[in-house]
């Protein structure tokens, strides 16, 4: 009787220790997964290039912001450069502008528009503003030379 008592206590102790270790490891695993989920909210392979070909390959389009980087909460302008697939500047294009946050289901706080043709395939887009950090998309639908095509730019704003 006196021999077996410490033995059963020791087994119980090991069970306790094992349980605690398992719980700790599980807690840590959950913590890491949650962290990971937060990080993966935006597609990891997001193409944030400022030069894109339109969906059907009709135009090559690029943009330059009037500020060093695309800012949050600051009105600014973009210069949109449009050329044909073989690199010729596109003049007289009709361009419509839209944008939103895919994860939030809301759009831009402003209604940006192309206000001026600057020559050499460059178009001034005024009224650009983003009201929060995160993943934004800007969509331009371009009609020129009897053809219409659309292009999307992704941005990860900080």
């Amino acid at each position: 009787m006196q021999e077996s008592k410490p033995k059963s206590t020791s087994v119980r102790l090991w069970l306790w220790i094992g349980g605690i270790v398992a719980a700790l490891v599980l807690a840590f695993a959950i913590f890491m997964v949650t962290m990971g989920m937060r990080m993966n909210a935006v597609p990891s392979d997001l193409d944030t290039s400022t030069t894109q070909r339109t969906e059907n390959g009709v135009f090559n389009v690029s943009y330059i912001a009037s500020t060093d980087t695309v800012p949050v909460n600051q009105m600014h302008a973009w210069t949109l450069h449009v050329e044909t697939a073989d690199g010729q500047p596109v003049e007289d294009a009709a361009i419509s502008v839209d944008g939103d946050m895919p994860q939030h289901g809301h759009g831009l706080p402003t209604r940006p528009q192309v206000t001026k043709y600057l020559g050499d395939g460059d178009y001034l887009v005024e009224g650009m503003k983003f009201q929060m950090a995160g993943w934004w998309v800007m969509d331009f639908t371009i009609t020129a030379n009897g053809q219409t095509d659309a292009v999307r730019f992704n941005m990860r704003l900080q």
Binding site: W14, L24, M75, P112, K129
Partner: protein
Amino acid sequence: MKLSRNIAILSIFLGLALVTTACSLSGRSRWSDEEVTALRTLWIGNLSPPPADPSNRYADDPRAAALGQKLFFDTRFSSNGQVACATCHLPDQLFQDGIALSRGVGVTSRRAMSVVGTAYSPWLFWDGRKDSQWAQALGPMENPVEHGGNRTLYAHLIAEFYAEEYTALFGPLPDLSGLPRDAAPIADPEALAGWEGMSAKDREAVTRLYVNMGKSIAAYERLLVPGESRFDQYVEAVLNNDNEAADEILTPDEIAGLRLFIGEANCTNCHNGPLFTNNDFHNTGVPAAKDLPEDIGRSKGVQDVLADEFNCLSIYSDAKPEQCSELKFLVAEGHQLVRQFKPPSLRNVAERGPYMHAGQFATLEEVLNHYNTAPEAPAGHSELEPLDLSEKQVEQIIAFLKTLSGPLDADEAWLTRPEYSN
């Protein structure tokens, strides 16, 4: 047996080490590069001087600010001689009044917003129905439940009490002889009749004087900007990689609250930048205030600002049309505007309850409970989704919000009632 005991002991150590790391990540000053970037955007050191106001050529004239300060505190500029801007925007209460619905000569239907930091906002009032500080300042002066006065009365008062200061800045006063004491394009029948009896030239002269009052008050209000808080000292320490110092500035709960604020609680969607507001408009499903008429917020605000006689494109604005880009590229219609309101700055938020546009919530606990549960909007569509935060997490966010308290970054002379013959 001995081996298995050693393995067990090793497992305990490993487990404890992992958990310690996890805890230190969540409760102490260890931030990822991405989080440090987010912290920097909120830091007051990242706040530039207020942007220029091209619509007000006197915006940065200290003489205009001095006159504006006097007008801001002068109760003679009201229908009963008892109401000034400072009645609802009290300097010792962060330029707000601490009550749900503000009281001028009557009771308003909205909470008074703090004037502090408004120089940074392209839109003024909860619904953004004004697009400059000077245009905003003129709204309450002719509002029947705020100052309750009118522009011709104010023109007479300027001539009687501020002629010297006014003319030094704006040139000669218009000839007011023969003009009624009370006249303005407002609902009051007597004042309206008086206004309609005035010549177009006299009306414009009186309105110009009235606008110059607004521009002076705006020059004063531009000087009211927030200063450093405990949160800012913390971020500065983090940016200097001095985690030990950082951990002495904020408690683990406050740090955990900050982590939630920039992370899973989504607060920085709207409360971003060093002023903790994007100065845009959002429907967050705030309940309707009892006993008040329906308030559709930004839906009406956009129509009001487009029609405003004092907007950026008006003849009273000093801006060139191309400088009015906010107004020009305004989103003027859409269901999303219904019941949107402007998120106020969260600097000093713990010092200025009650909260929301009609003071619907008395405490930060009530505010956080609202964001946590995300009820449906009384009209329009709420942008919120339930956060499912624990009670502890809610407490941590509130603890963090209290670290945003701090003094204004303004000379003491601007924060008190000026001396003048009253």
